[in-house]
């Protein structure tokens, strides 16, 4: 980590600081800032600048990623309630932060549920509390600063929340020294805050340019230009203007739209998915010469849209640019609950996630404090009851008071790879299959999924790797996997089913990923007979389906034929024909199928 090459351009710091300045003026309007940065001086310094620019006395609250509803939304303040005889709300963080900001460290760990609760508050600017006998509406005009500390691109803050933030910053590999000389004048932001309400509405040009620019960069959303418009208004207020000028709009577009770009405007839009349907021709063209016909003729000086396009283009972050060029959009994280190995609720094991009401069931664990807490307010009433009067107890606890601990348990899962290593596959595709499996293994490792490897070739199938989390062993085995011989497909499928069932008995949910060309030609007893081999393979596939084992069938043959899809249908598997297998494509498909499968509720056993 030495600074041997040129220092990062100052403009990134200026961008980050400008975002902080605008956000500090109107946190609730601009929604939030997502900051990709690990803990450290760079991040601290940026935050310090932001805090200094906030309205004086504006609350700043932290939301831990695994916060519970009692703390986030609020709960009955039992002590105060019992003492005063009136229901008193213990305010949650979202209500406490009204007029200020909430900080979310480790935002990539935020669960989808918490993200949705915060998103609802951002949308409504109030907190609706419907908890434990309390019904309140609490003003909650908040802005959010989410520190995204994820290492891989898939470990990111939930899109549902990030999309509501005006600014997306990346402070990685910036040096704290760059910010040393940059400051925000709090009197400036305070003045802008007062002036904000008197900024007039935008001109049609500004609105159109923002929408067109967003579309040109493939941003398929109405929220983004809306946030950009708000940022432009704040910028105008900051500059002491009563109207939004081109300058403000361009600045807002650079800050809000550039980090969201999905494509560059000079890319041919007809090859990627066009953001606009054909009923609006020219909508997603770049602004070079064929403008929409309602704008000025080309002889005029460059219009706002052109200026904006150029500015945004220049501001697209380098790494994003590289990603756009390779076309790697990547899957969008949606919050931790929807991933592979999703958390399942369990009565007994795992991480405690709160308490619930309910009837006492065998195996559930009573939350004693919560139960007593639930019983406390009712003591006076119960003492009045006829029944209670006959027997005097120090505290009367009834069935409806029972609260139970809830636990979230990471549902464990196993990927069973069933790889065709026969001659027909080996010649062309074994290497690709290996590559794909390797990528999936990396994925499995990230998700702490178990993996198992079954290979079939020659006269039978072999369990090369019993379910394990050891990536190294799996890799080594895979690299040395020899190819050649016939295709005993039925034996391979049977072996995979056995492994899958064994896994299920250990309460790990199996997913079988079969990579084959589907040309079975060796029967179970080792004879070369294509017709019978195929029959057997279909039978095995049906057995797999009958066990309700989730499966993906990746057809690796050069020209997919009916056999592949027939087999996939028989095993009720997701069928993917990949005539030209690319490891990354296989990986995407299997990952998609896997996450789809694992987000479904538990199947009844």
């Amino acid at each position: 980590m030495t600074q041997c090459d040129a220092p990062p351009p100052l403009s990134r710091w200026e961008t980050a600081l400008m975002a902080a300045r605008l956000f500090a003026i109107d946190p609730a309007g601009l929604g939030g800032v997502s900051v990709i940065a690990g803990p450290g001086p760079v991040r601290d310094l940026w935050l310090e600048r932001l805090r200094g620019a906030l309205a004086s006395g504006a609350p700043v609250r932290r939301v831990p990623a695994h916060i519970e509803d009692d703390r986030l939304i609020g709960a009955v303040d039992l002590t105060a309630t019992l003492a005063s005889g009136r229901v008193v709300l213990q305010m949650g963080i979202l209500g406490e932060a009204d007029g200020g900001i909430v900080l979310i460290p480790m935002a990539e760990r935020l669960s989808a549920g918490v993200a949705a609760r915060i998103a609802a508050v951002l949308d409504r600017r109030e907190l609706v509390v419907e908890r434990e006998g309390l019904a309140r509406r609490i003003p909650a005009r908040i802005g959010v600063v989410a520190f995204d500390e994820g290492v891989s691109p898939e470990e990111r803050l939930a899109v549902s929340l990030r999309e509501r933030f005006a600014f997306h910053l990346d402070l990685r590999d910036l040096s704290a020294r760059g910010l040393a000389n940059l400051a925000i004048d709090p009197s400036e932001t305070a003045a802008a805050r007062l002036a904000l309400a008197s900024v007039e509405g935008p001109s049609a040009d500004v609105v159109e340019a923002l929408v067109a620019t967003a579309a040109a960069f493939g941003i398929n959303s109405v929220v983004a230009p809306l946030l950009a418009l708000r940022a432009a208004r704040v910028a105008a207020a900051l500059a002491g203007r009563r109207a939004i000028t081109e300058e403000d709009a361009v600045l807002a577009a650079r800050l809000v739209l550039a980090p969201r770009s999905q494509m560059m405007p000079d890319e041919a839009p007809d090859e990627t998915e066009p953001p606009a349907p054909p009923d609006d021709p020219g909508a997603d063209e770049d602004g070079d010469d064929d403008d929409d016909d309602d704008t000025e003729p080309a002889t005029e000086p460059p219009n706002l849209e052109d200026i904006m396009l150029a500015a945004v283009q220049a501001a697209v972050p380098d790494d994003l640019l590289a990603k756009l060029k390779t076309g790697a959009g990547g899957p969008q994280p949606t919050g931790r609950n929807s991933r592979l190995g999703a958390a399942k609720s369990s009565a007994l094991r795992g991480r405690p996630t709160g308490v619930r009401m309910g009837a006492l069931r065998p195996g559930s664990r009573l939350a004693l404090v919560a139960t007593l807490r639930a019983a406390a307010p009712w003591q006076a009433v119960r003492r009045n009851d006829q029944v209670a009067r006959t027997v005097s107890r120090p505290i009367e606890v009834r069935r409806e008071d029972f609260r139970f601990k809830r636990f979230a348990q990471r549902r464990e899962s196993t990927m069973v790879f069933c790889v065709d290593a026969s001659g027909s596959t080996a010649f062309h595709r074994l290497a690709e299959s290996k590559g794909a499996v390797e990528m999936l293994l990396a994925e499995a490792y990230v998700n702490r999924t178990f993996v198992s490897l079954v290979a079939f070739r020659g006269h039978g199938a072999e369990l090369l790797l019993p379910p394990t989390r050891s990536l190294t062993r799996a890799k080594a085995l895979l690299a040395n996997l020899p190819g050649g011989g016939g295709t005993p497909l039925a034996a391979g499928v049977d072996c995979a089913v056995l492994v899958a069932l064994a896994e299920r008995s250990k309460s790990r949910e199996p997913l079988v990923i079969l990579l084959t060309d589907g040309r079975a030609n060796i029967t179970a007893d080792g004879q070369a007979a294509r017709g019978r081999a195929m029959e057997e393979a279909l039978d095995s596939s049906r057995r797999l389906a009958a066990q309700r084992i989730a499966a993906v069938f990746i057809d690796t043959s050069a020209r997919p034929r009916a056999e592949g899809s027939d087999l996939a249908a028989a095993m009720n598997a997701r069928y993917v024909a990949l005539p030209y297998v690319e490891a990354s494509a296989v990986c995407d498909v299997a990952r998609g199928a896997a996450s789809e499968f694992f987000t479904e509720p538990l199947r009844p056993r």
């Binding site: 419907e130 434990e132 109405v222 349907p277 609006d280 619930r356 899809s565």
Partner: protein, 345 residues
Amino acid sequence: MFTMKIYFPFAAIVGQDDMKFALQLVAVDRNIGGVMVFGDRGTGKSTAVRSLASLLPHMQVVTGCKFNCDPGSPVETCADVCDARRDKHCPTHKTVPVPVVDLPLGATEDRVVGALDLERALTRGEKAFEPGLLARAHRGFLYIDEVNLLEDHLVDLLLDVAASGENIVEREGLSVRHPARFVLVGSGNPEEGELRPQLLDRFGLSVDVRTPGNLADRVEILKRCDAFERDPEAFDALWRNENESASALIAAARERLGEVAVSDDALEAMSRLCMATGADGLRGELTLLRASRAAAALAGDEAVGDAHIRRVAAMALRHRLRRNPLDESGSTARVERALGEVFAS
């Protein structure tokens, strides 16, 4: 002390015809069942639902009744807990907006179904029932944003009450039952976790909303959102007339609903459509019938015609199709295909 929040006017929502139409249909005929809205973020899902209240013709309730009792129907089952009705021999009534109740994530079960009034128990040692969100939503709408993130036991409970139309609470030796007939409106983003199929089937209609691709629409959305943000009152006033005529349309359609004729041919077309799509169960057919009848009423037509069936088929059936792992085409496309088959012959 409590000011009524102004919601974005329904009539000012740009595009999103399917979503708006589905909401209008259930406003005309509540028996169609709930509406599930899937879609991209920022497409005005919540806006449309919350603005429904301004669109619906007002309703009569017994004054002081916490259960939204209808003065027109003499025996509501909540009579034993409804103070307003019990105390007064001749209850007065008043006109109120149709409730559109938000069920926030993080709501606890006692607030949903109702529980004992904590304050009265503490101050006076009395047992009094404090109605929950279900009571508040009676005769109106219950809206859950991000329904796929709501806890399973709450979802089950809601579906149960929505189906039976009655809420039963047993607390502290108090047994309360009150009517809770509401239209459940859910919204969600399929990327954030799928809905259980058995849950999906309980919704009458399901619509998909997308960000409008048309630039002119996006510009218009931006302009209207900005205008609304800067001055909600003025914006509301600007759209009042249009909103009122939309509201009158629904009122008129409700009047007409009973007279809309459904021919045997139309019924047969619906059955064949359900068979062709393989939509499971009778529920699909019934929803299709009610929705096309409401569509005809909205259009001011005297009988259900092919056009009405075509218009509502996708939203009534697309969430009831059996999953076919080999058919990658979307459910809407499958319904469209079936429509082609049924109406071509």
